[in-house]
C-alpha cells in the first residue's frame, strides 16, 4: 500500500484524494448509519428484537422485500427489451422514448403515487376495466408491486443500454455465418456480456424499490399486515414518537439490504471471473 502511494504518478493527489474519500464517506454515509444503529439499540437488544419480530413488522418487511424483488425481476425482462429496441432500431420518436425512460427518476414520487392510484382505482382509467375481471390493483399488494415496477425501470434500462451499445455487431454476424440460430447467438454470444449488467441493474432497482416510499403509500391502501410497507411503518412509529422502534425497523432493513447486496455482488464477481 505504502509503495503504491509513493510511486510517482502522472496525476498527483493520491493522499489528498483518499483523505477526501474517507472523510466524505464517513460524514455522509457511515456516521448517520452508525447513529441509527446505536439509536435502535437504545433500549437494549431485547427491545430491539421485540420491535422487529412483531407480526406487523415482519409482514411489512416481507412485503417490502418481496414486492421489490418481484418488481426488479419483471423490470429486468422488460428493461432489457426496451433497451434493446432503443439501441438497435432507428424509428420515429426514438429519442422521445429514450427521454421518457428517465421520467420515473425525475418525478416527485408522490406525484407518481397519486397518478398511479388514480389510474388503477376501481373507477380509474385502467381500474374500471381490470376490476370486472377480479383484478384489484389499487389499495392491494398488487398496487405496491405496480408502483415499484414504475420507479425501478430506469435502473435496468440505463445500466444495460451502454453495454448493448458496446456489443460488437460483427460478433453476431460471425455467429450467423458459423451456423448459429438466433437463440444460440443470443444465449452463447450476447448473454455472457449482458448478464453482469443485468445483475447490476437488478441490484440497483432492488435497492431503490426497497427504500421507495412516496409512490407506494398512495396506491397501497396501507392495510396493516396486508399492504403496509416497512418504510411506512417507520413513519407511523415516528409519528407516535417511538423513535427507538422506528430505528429498530430501519436497522433491520439496513441489515437485510446489506446481506442482499453482498450476495448479489458476490454473484456478479463470480460471473465476471468465469468470463475473465
Amino acid at each position: 500500500m505504502a509503495s503504491l502511494a509513493q510511486q510517482r504518478r502522472t496525476l498527483p493527489g493520491f493522499g489528498l484524494g483518499l483523505g477526501v474519500t474517507i472523510t466524505y464517506l464517513s460524514l455522509i454515509v457511515l456516521l448517520p448509519l452508525a447513529t441509527m444503529l446505536l439509536r435502535s439499540l437504545g433500549n437494549g437488544p431485547a427491545f430491539w428484537w421485540q420491535a422487529v419480530s412483531s407480526a406487523r413488522v415482519l409482514a411489512a418487511l416481507r412485503l417490502s422485500f418481496g414486492a421489490s424483488m418481484a418488481a426488479a425481476a419483471v423490470d429486468v425482462i422488460f428493461g432489457l427489451i426496451i433497451a434493446w429496441v432503443l439501441v438497435r432500431y432507428r424509428f420515429i420518436g426514438r429519442r422521445w422514448f429514450d427521454a421518457l425512460i428517465d421520467l420515473p427518476f425525475a418525478l416527485p414520487t408522490a406525484v407518481a403515487g397519486i397518478t398511479l392510484s388514480a389510474l388503477y382505482a376501481g373507477n380509474g382509467w385502467l381500474g374500471q376495466y381490470l376490476e370486472p375481471w377480479g383484478i384489484k390493483v389499487a389499495f392491494t399488494r398488487v398496487g405496491v408491486f405496480v408502483a415499484l415496477v414504475f420507479v425501478a425501470l430506469p435502473f435496468i434500462v440505463r445500466t444495460v443500454q451502454p453495454v448493448l451499445q458496446d456489443l460488437d455487431k460483427e460478433c453476431e454476424e460471425a455467429a450467423a455465418t458459423l451456423g448459429a440460430s438466433r437463440w444460440q447467438t443470443f444465449r452463447q454470444v450476447l448473454w455472457p456480456s449482458l448478464a453482469p449488467a443485468l445483475l447490476t441493474g437488478f441490484t440497483m432497482a432492488l435497492a431503490r424499490a426497497v427504500g421507495e416510499y412516496g409512490s407506494v403509500i398512495f396506491i397501497a391502501g396501507n392495510l396493516p399486515r396486508v399492504s403496509e410497507i416497512a418504510p411506512l411503518l417507520i413513519t407511523i412509529k415516528l409519528e407516535q414518537y417511538d423513535y427507538v422502534g422506528a430505528a429498530a425497523i430501519g436497522s433491520a432493513m439496513l441489515l437485510l439490504s446489506f446481506v442482499l447486496l453482498l450476495v448479489l455482488n458476490l454473484l456478479q464477481r463470480r460471473m465476471l471471473r468465469v468470463q475473465r
Binding site: 454476424e173 455465418t177 455472457p192 468470463q275
Partner: protein, 360 residues
Amino acid sequence: MQVAVQGLSKAFGETAVLHDINLLVPEGQFCALLGPSGSGKTTLLRIIAGLEFADLGRVLFDSTDVADRSARDRQVGFVFQHYALFRHMTIADNVAFGLQVRERKLRPAAPVIKRRVAELLELVQLADYGARYPDQLSGGQRQRVALARALAIEPRVLLLDEPFGALDARVRKDMRTWLRGLQTKLGLTSILVTHDQDEALELADSVAVMEHGHIIQCASPQAIYDQPATPAVYEFLGGANRLTCRVSNGQLFVGDALLGSLAAADDAAADLYVRAHDVELLPTAPGTGLQGELLRLTWGGGMTHAQVRLQSGDTLEVDVPPWSSQGHSWLVGQAVTVRLRRYGVFGSLAGAHPAAFVGI
C-alpha cells in the same frame, strides 16, 4: 465451388452502392476486390455471405441460386477486419463454435470436435493457445484464430473482409504470404476485400478493381498492372504521372517533343500515364526523349526520387535506381533528359478511352 454474381444492384435508401455487378470466381481461385473505401466492395462481399441482401441480381454457388438463403445456411467462412472473436470464450471454444451449434444429428461427437479444433489450431500455428482468451493474443494471432474458426465449418467459400487491415505492416506481410500458401494447400475458393494494391496483386489469381459501385476492371494481377483499363485504375494502382499529350498524323507528342508513333484517332488531345519507375533519367542527350530540369532529389533507400520539370511545363516524378547513374552524381537544377520506357495513353474525351499501351 464456383461463385458467380450476376447483374447485382444494391441501394441503401437513396444511395446506390452497387450497379449491375458481374463477377465470376472459378473453383479454387483467389479473387481480390480492390477499391477505395466507399466503392462498394465490402457490401458486395457481405451480399455473397448473406449478411446483406441485393435489390436485384443473383448470387450463384455452383449453379444454385442462394439469394433467399440466410448467412446461416450458406456455409461460408467469413473473416472480419476486427476479428469478431467471442471474448468470453477460450480460443478452443471459439474455433469449436461452428461445430458446437449444429443440431444434434449433425453435430460431431465431443472427442471428434476436440480433435478437429486441435488440427485447426495446428494449421494456423497456434497449437498451444487453445486455453487462452482472445484478449491475451496479438492481432495477427487473433486473425489466425478467426480464420481457424471460419475453416472449422468446412466452408464452401472463404470470404475475407480486409483481414489484415488492423495489423501492422510487417505482420501484414507475413500473414499475406502465409494465407496464400494455406489457400493453395486447401484449394478453397476465396474472395478478399482490400484497399491495399500490393496485397491484391500479390495474393490473388484475379483482381476486380471497384469504384463507385462498379467493377471497372477484372483481370489477372499482371494484366491489371500492365494494362489498366482506365486512368482511375492507373491512379489506384500505386499512382502514376499524368502528362497531357497530343496525337497528330499517327505521332504522339508531349508539348513539342515527339515521343513515338501511335495508331489512334488523329488530332486528339490525350492523357499519358507513366509510373515513376518506368521513367529513365539521363544526362542531357539532345533528340532522345523529353528535355527538362531537375527540380528536387530525395533519397529514399533503394530508390532516389527525382522531380523533373519538363519543357512542356508538366512535372514528372522519377524513381532513379542507385546503379543507373554510373558514378555520375545528379545536381538539382541541372538539365536532364527523361525517357519513358512504358506508358499508357487514354483519349481524354469523356467516356471514350481508346487506350494504347507502349512498352520498351
